[in-house]
Amino acid sequence: MSYKEHAQANQAQTLTSQPGTARPVPAVHDMPPFAERLQRGLEDENMHRALERFAPSWRQSRQALFEATAAEYGSDYSFAALRQRLRAAKDEAIAHQEELVARFKEQATAAGAVVYEARSAEEANRYIYELCRRKGITLVVKSKTMVSEEIELNHYLEERGIKAVETDLGEWVAQLDHERPSHMVMPIIHKTRQQVGEVLSRATGREISRENVAEQVAVIRREHRQAFLTAGMGISGANALIAESGTVMLNTNEGNGRMVTSLPPVHVVLAGYDKLLPTFADAMTQIRLLARSATGQPMTSYTTFITGPDRPGKEVHIVLLDNGRSAMRADPRFKEALRCIRCAACANICPPYQQVGGHAFGYIYSGAIGLVVTPFHHGLEAAAGPQSLCVSCNACETVCPVEIPLPSLILDVRSRVATSEGLPWLKRLIFGVLARPRLFDLLTRLAALGQWPATRGTPYVRYRYLRLFERLPGLRPLVQLTGWRSLPAFALRPLRDRIGDRANLAAARQEGRRSDELTVCYFAGCMTDRLYPEMGEAVIQILERCGLRVVFPRAQHCCGLPALNSGDRQHGVAMAKQTVRMLERALDESGADYIVCASTSCVVTLIQDYLRLFEDLQLQSWLNRTRALAGRIMDFTSFLLRVLVAQQRLPALRRPRSGSAPVVTYHDSCQSCNCLGLRTEARQVIRDVLGLELREMRDSDVCCGFGGSTSIEHPEIAERLLERKLRHAEETGATLLVSDNPGCLMHLRGGVDANGRPLRVLHLAQLVAEYLA
């Protein structure tokens, strides 16, 4: 079969939107079930500490390096520019894969290498095994390769009597302890030095220090020397396959990579097709991004370029692996994931990853990219549990050096899982109700009337009121959810009942308007409407005090975010259409200039998620309609600064009284900073417009843990992220915690209430409204 035919055969088994057609993938041996991996991860205190300590220092050094390079060499060397270049090179390689493979093969073969194309894990394993058998090789030394983990090469060889020794320190320790790497770059980040000392003592039969890392590192040099000198084969991965010359590029730090590829008489390179790059120039761009993204170091110690065997008698075999990659390539969305350079930045930055580690947050590949590629390499089922851990904070996309839209690909995986496994009944029920505006209205009003036993008339559903119900079977998990975070009460009068004539859309047009008068159509979002009408009133108050006319289409309803976020596309699409139709009509009837929304989660749904959704479902006319609307939609914070302040419409504000003025700390909602790129706007409002003191908290832009339904599905994670966030807020000594997204505010308020913390939690609009003279 030619490569093209292989690709077609693989495409036939593409993991497309019809789930259940996913290829049957052999289960990875010894992989504990997800629930068990999750439990272990949650309990591993040492690991959390290690990951939480690493994250901030990594972020800092990574950013400092990129900034320094841009300052020195100009904007062509900024992170944005480099990532654009690498992305383009990778996209070219993916688009022209057949030509690139042909070129690579031709060049590598001319240089004396043997290139073998393996369609599956089995084919790759068998090729390598046969090679050992033919040559009578019984000992193999390996340098770090994720692809070998993907195909379980060690296991395959060992079952057939061939010993494979990992020579990378972390991989070796993991191998000795019968574990898999929990991180693609730092395989044993989950282990303490004491644990490493124990593993090494057990393996060598000598007492190795539990404290002295240098002594532990020295062990590997001694232990491996003999293996290097006697092994018949060295196996490595590849960081890039450079097509123009048939060269394999390898980045390593420890020095074992060069020994594995140099000393034994046979060198096998194991690499996916995704490692192809057109030219050396592209490889330099990758080098500039890889180490900085991975560990925040400028460059790895060794970057090796191998072009065929270096001496007579030496053999170089390059195994190109498909194993689901052509299915990925055939998928217009998932082919973007083939750009990955395995830097693990998407794991380093991921808040839930820090809480559970890579064994749970992923399968063989971990971190955000692990959730995305696992269905293709190891089946949809293998991704089902791990994908549920993503809180859709979008942080990973901001650091990915090849700009893979990871969060939305994870949602795609989620919707495939939801379609194939079905949603839990509770979610089905909730989304069913959400999708029916009248029923939803009725039920929330009934709930507001009937909630007294749970709220006792306060704005919170509190654990102490619910304790009584804890013993009722079925209610227990719900009751326990309020133990660490009180839930909000439904408002007796939702915002829609408080808007008066603003619901009369046509009036805005009829009454005639001054030329400089602006009309704003206010989209509140269901959380503001039903739970926090006072936030909505603050928004309306500000807009009107600025002389704007505000209309509130009463037909507005939930934008569908909860359903879309849970992978429930059926309800999600219906709600998206409903919302687009409603907004078009409102603009039409009222002649409004802008649609303003003070929930950045809803804004992102309206201007980003709908587009993706309609594009994906090929609903061209809906796509066009949404695009037309999107230009008119603005989040409240930007609107305040770019329109109200910039056009000097904001009236004089009360100046804070010195001495008694509150000190503010600001939480960046993920949707605000990661999706809308808002980082300075709210701060400008607090400092410059209101004249208040703002004290930055640590990690102000790290997720608070709300993450939509994740906080219900994985409350342990949501609780920990919330705890961290509130701790950081308190450390500043501020009395006010401000944000601009009701979802976060609900989560933060609930945490403050449940633990009686001395913080007031406000929407930015509420803060501004307090200073209207």
Binding site: F54, L169, G170, R258, M259, T300
Partner: protein, 205 residues
């Protein structure tokens, strides 16, 4: 950028990677730096085979021998492993990253930089370049098919290191524990051969 500014940049990048860079005006100074280095306490230095014939560096060997240093040509890995010091020469030094560019098909030459404990690398000032992009150009040239094709090229940036255990940085894992790069202003014993000519000639390789 003039070569002293370029060298300063190279030096700071290399030192950030845990290596050391020295400037030497000529081979005599280079010999002095090597001979007085603590790694030469045993006065033993591993050199790649045929180093004596290698222009312009071969002329360094008599200077080292004159200081009582025993020069050993690298042969098989067993004999080179954990030797206290080794010497190689590089085709480029890259200021952007503090890397040296080593190209050698012969395994015996490469193990000097793989297995000794302190690795000295010589490079002429004319081969000190600002950006990685020049490495890409040279890679293209050297990997071109033909009898001159270089099959094994490394960019070396500092000594071998790991941070696998608790993110604690440890220098010297499987490879050298120290990397010492000596940038020589005028390596040619024949002073009529200017720096630029050295660069041109090397690029023609």
């Amino acid at each position: 950028m003039n070569s002293s500014a370029l060298f300063a940049q190279f030096q700071s990048r290399l030192s950030a990677a845990g290596g050391v860079a020295h400037w030497a005006e000529d081979l005599a100074q280079a010999a002095e730096i090597i001979a007085t280095h603590p790694a030469l306490a045993e006065q033993r230095l591993i050199i790649p085979p045929a180093f004596a014939a290698c222009q312009p560096w071969g002329a360094l060997l008599p200077l080292l021998s004159a200081r009582g240093i025993r020069l050993e040509e690298a042969t098989i890995p067993e004999r080179v492993a954990d030797a206290p010091a080794g010497l190689s020469c590089a085709s480029l030094a890259i200021a952007e990253t503090g890397s040296v560019f080593l190209a050698d098909n012969a395994l015996a030459a490469r193990i000097v930089g793989m297995l000794t404990l302190t690795h000295f690398v010589l490079v002429s000032a004319g081969q000190l370049v600002p950006l990685l992009d020049e490495a890409a150009t040279l890679l293209q040239t050297l990997t071109r098919p033909g009898p001159q094709q270089q099959h094994y090229i490394s960019l070396v940036t500092g000594p071998s290191r790991t941070a696998d255990i608790e993110r604690t940085l440890t220098i010297g894992v499987q490879g050298p524990r120290a990397l010492c790069v000596i940038v020589v202003a005028t390596p040619a014993s024949d002073p009529s051969l200017s720096r630029e000519e050295v660069k041109d000639r090397d690029n023609e390789l």
